[in-house]
């Protein structure tokens, strides 16, 4: 048998294969990043004797019982209706705020038996020890969503006047944090602060 030298394997396309794989993994990889609902706990206070009296109509009570049922303003409610109910309560604008200003940006029913002003409206959330965490998070999420929805509507109203077209509140906050955003950030901060002041997030948890 004649002696043959081993044929050389063509390795020219090896680099192409490697690059193909590299690009495939680059495209399909997502870097997981934690996200969640930010909250601030109330600080521990020394027992205070003089209690602030808040009118019952300015408090929106949400109670989650041990069987994960929702009791909103003393009525049983489904989770999917909570956001709408909270928006109606917050955006009511029945009378005036502490300084006597009418809520001229509210779109609510101006019902005298519901909240006076978004500045005065407080949502009170109470849960029991047996309440499951997932229900609690869902309720928290819906209440945050109620605030965000109202703020978004307001941002779309006043945004265009200040030169921020087609940008709702959530987007504004995101752009404000984004270092690559091109635009007037100072002006945007003004708009964000104004909306935050008009719809302050007053969510209190009963311990």
């Amino acid at each position: 048998m004649a002696k043959r030298s081993a044929p050389e394997v063509n390795a020219g396309s090896m680099a192409d294969i490697a690059f193909l794989l590299l690009i495939f993994f680059l495209v399909t990889t997502t870097i997981p990043k934690d996200s969640g609902i930010n909250r601030k706990l109330p600080p521990m206070e020394p027992p205070n004797e003089d209690q602030v009296v808040i009118k019952q109509k300015n408090i929106f009570t949400v109670l989650i019982n041990g069987n994960d049922q929702l009791l909103v303003e003393d009525e049983l409610m489904e989770l999917k209706d909570l956001r709408k109910a909270a928006i109606e309560f917050l955006d009511n604008g029945g009378t005036t705020d502490a300084e006597g200003n009418k809520c001229d940006y509210c779109n609510g029913k101006k019902d005298l038996t519901s909240s006076d002003h978004p500045d005065k409206a407080i949502i009170s959330l109470k849960s029991e020890r047996e309440t499951s965490y997932k229900t609690y998070i869902s309720v928290q999420n819906e209440l945050v969503a109620a605030y965000n929805d109202l703020r978004n509507i307001r941002a779309l109203e006043i945004g265009p006047k200040k030169g921020f077209r087609d940008m709702d509140f959530v987007k504004m906050e995101k752009n404000f944090r984004d270092a690559n955003f091109v635009g007037n950030k100072e002006k945007m901060k003004e708009v964000i602060d104004q909306i935050r002041k008009e719809y302050p997030e007053k969510l209190s948890e009963v311990q």
């Binding site: 030298s5 081993a6 050389e8 394997v9 390795a11 090896m14 680099a15 294969i17 490697a18 794989l21 590299l22 993994f25 990889t29 997981p32 990043k33 934690d34 996200s35 969640g36 609902i37 930010n38 909250r39 601030k40 706990l41 109330p42 600080p43 521990m44 989650i64 989770l79 999917k80 849960s127 029991e128 020890r129 047996e130 309440t131 499951s132 965490y133 997932k134 229900t135 609690y136 998070i137 869902s138 928290q140 999420n141 819906e142 945050v144 969503a145 965000n148 311990q207």
Partner: protein, 158 residues
């Protein structure tokens, strides 16, 4: 010219190593992609609930993680009630304050100490009892910035 010929005729041709770097790079990238960096080894079930009004947890500020959930596979002897995990071991509610002080002490830049955010990674099946206990301890420890870490999805499906 013929005097330079015929020297290597009988030797085997050398293996082509030109593609070796490619293979090495491929392996490198493969491992880079499949590696998940995680801070702690979980000894509990930790399936997070879902919500859609979420904000990103900014990594530029210091974050401490508190896990809670029912003991996971291999740790059944610790019972079926939701437990607390700090770092790599089960902990008691009362250890939270010491944990927060330790976390504060480990922050290298002093001006960031006040920005410490506590990320609560609680299993969706846990109940609020343990969560409110944790929150109470955090208030005592004056760690007031918290984040209920959740998955992204519709909250109505929980």
């Amino acid at each position: 010219m013929s005097k330079f010929k015929g020297k290597k005729d009988n030797a085997l041709p050398a293996v082509n190593t030109a593609s070796l770097p490619d293979i090495v790079f491929m392996l490198l990238f493969f491992f880079m992609v499949v590696t998940v960096m995680r801070e702690d080894t979980l000894m509990i079930d930790n399936l997070l609930p879902q919500a859609d009004q979420v904000e990103k947890l900014e990594k530029k500020y210091p974050i401490s993680y508190i896990y809670a959930g029912k003991p996971g596979k291999g740790y059944e002897k610790f019972g079926t009630e939701a437990r607390l995990q700090l770092n790599d071991k089960f902990a008691d509610i009362s250890e939270i304050r010491a944990f927060i002080s330790a976390e504060r002490a480990s922050i290298a830049r002093e001006e960031l100490v006040d920005f410490l955010t506590v990320s609560l990674k609680v299993d969706k099946e846990a109940n609020m009892g343990i969560v409110s206990d944790i929150k109470k301890e955090l208030r005592e420890a004056n760690a007031l910035k918290i984040n209920y870490t959740v998955g992204t999805g519709s909250a109505l499906d929980n």
